[in-house]
């Protein structure tokens, strides 16, 4: 199996691949957005601006399906960032991946990569550098934790005591169940995204081992992976919005 290029800097573990891919994703999304807003025009929008506006309207549609768009207006930026970041991340691992083979201990920036530390002669480790950042459970977990914190924070801030009341409804005995439900949301988010993208990359690796026979399968699967990547970005965003709506908007008729 592929190993991650993990190094310890002063006792703190740093996954260089994750850092690299996060930076690449962020840069791509940011550059894309900046290109789109470079020549903004009211009368005669360019192609990229049109695309970006389509994305904005798409996110607005997502939000308005979860809550009243008037209340959801502050979350448009969040939804946009989420969908763009996740979509770009999902696609990054598709065209290629970068793997190095290490025969012995490899050092980088003066630190030994963990996976290569205890290699004895004859063994080798494959270190995966370029992949989808969302094929790493840690990164999807980070996104899910952001959503988790955000939905609970916004719930307490905007909904006050109703937020806490939700936990003991319909009966106080449901409290543990409600807490589990609350905690399960980010876990489900993280694992769903990770598993979809990770599985996609694993299958690509497997197909690659077929050799020339696998080329048509690879094409089909990569196309499907683009679809899956878009779908997962959409699902992550819409679930985020649904969760935020659930915790922040107090519906009178529900009581």
């Amino acid at each position: 199996m592929h190993e991650m290029p993990l190094i310890y800097v002063g006792g703190i573990p740093i996954d260089l691949s994750a850092v690299l891919m996060l930076v690449v994703s962020c840069v791509i999304v940011f550059v894309l957005a900046m290109l789109a807003v470079r020549n903004l025009s009211v009368e005669n929008p360019g192609k990229l601006q049109n695309f970006m506006e389509w994305v904005v309207e798409f996110v607005q549609g997502i939000i308005s399906s979860a809550m009243d768009l008037k209340k959801g207006r502050p979350y448009i930026s969040l939804g946009l960032t989420l969908i763009l970041f996740i979509f770009v991340s999902n696609l990054l691992g598709l065209p290629f991946s970068v793997i190095t083979e290490a025969e012995g201990p490899v050092t980088i920036f003066g630190h030994v990569i963990e996976a290569t530390k205890h290699l004895v002669h004859g063994e080798h480790a494959e270190i995966l550098w370029w992949k989808s950042p969302t094929a790493d459970i840690n990164i999807t977990a980070g996104l899910a934790i952001i959503v988790f914190l955000l939905m609970n924070f916004l719930g307490i801030k905007n909904n006050g005591k109703h937020y806490f009341k939700h936990f003991v409804e319909p009966f106080p005995i449901f409290l543990p169940l409600n807490i589990i439900e609350n905690l399960a949301k980010p876990v489900a988010l993280a694992i769903r995204l990770f598993a979809n993208i990770f599985a996609g990359e694993v299958l690509i690796t497997v197909i690659l081992k077929l050799g020339f026979v696998g080329i048509p399968f690879l094409g089909v699967w990569q196309g499907f992976s683009i679809f899956v990547g878009a779908l997962q970005a959409y699902i992550f965003t819409i679930l985020t919005m649904v969760y935020i709506a659930q915790y922040t908007i107090h519906e009178e008729e529900a009581h």
């Binding site: 993990l6 573990p13 962020c26 940011f30 903004l40 601006q49 763009l84």
Partner: protein, 162 residues
């Protein structure tokens, strides 16, 4: 699949930075432009609606003007018909009056002429008869006024009967 807590942290930080940067440099501008476009479209739609209303009003106005013109034409035609018939009547009347006048004049002239002729004839006859009588009675009858008066009276009776 290994849990590396720093990766979680890094991804959160990266996402946060990306969110802040995008929000600050890209999305605010984009939203502004989209809002402006929305306003522009609304404005244009408003204008189009207004223009359409104006067009409808204008067409209505034109229709009314046409109707009015038609009515006026009708009126003018009627008026001219009335005028022409009046004129014709008047001309007729005038002609009739003229004819009447001419006829009356002629009748009067004829009567005058007749009277004159009768008068002339009467006096001629009177003098002629007096002359005859005087020729006949030259000797015995003096031409005194009494006898001439008698003759005149007789002749008047004759003239009145004629």
């Amino acid at each position: 699949m290994t849990i590396v807590w720093t990766n979680i942290l890094f991804s959160m930080i990266a996402f946060g930075i990306l969110y802040i940067l995008l929000n600050k440099y890209a999305f605010s501008k984009l939203f502004g432009v989209m809002e402006k476009r929305r306003e522009l479209v609304m404005q244009q739609m408003d204008e189009a609606a207004k223009t359409r209303e104006q067009a409808v009003a204008y067409v209505e106005e034109q229709k009314q003007a046409l109707q009015q013109a038609r009515q006026e034409a009708q009126q003018i035609i009627q008026q001219s018909q009335v005028t022409s018939s009046n004129q014709a009547d008047r001309l007729m009347e005038q002609a009739k009056a003229e004819a009447d006048r001419l006829k009356n004049e002629a009748v009067r002239d004829i009567a005058n002429e007749k009277n004159k002729a009768v008068e002339a004839l009467r006096s001629e006859l009177g003098t002629a008869s007096v002359r005859i009588a005087s020729k006949l009675l030259e000797k015995e009858v003096k031409a005194d006024g009494e006898q001439e008066q008698l003759v005149d009276q007789y002749l008047k009776e004759v003239g009145g009967r004629s």
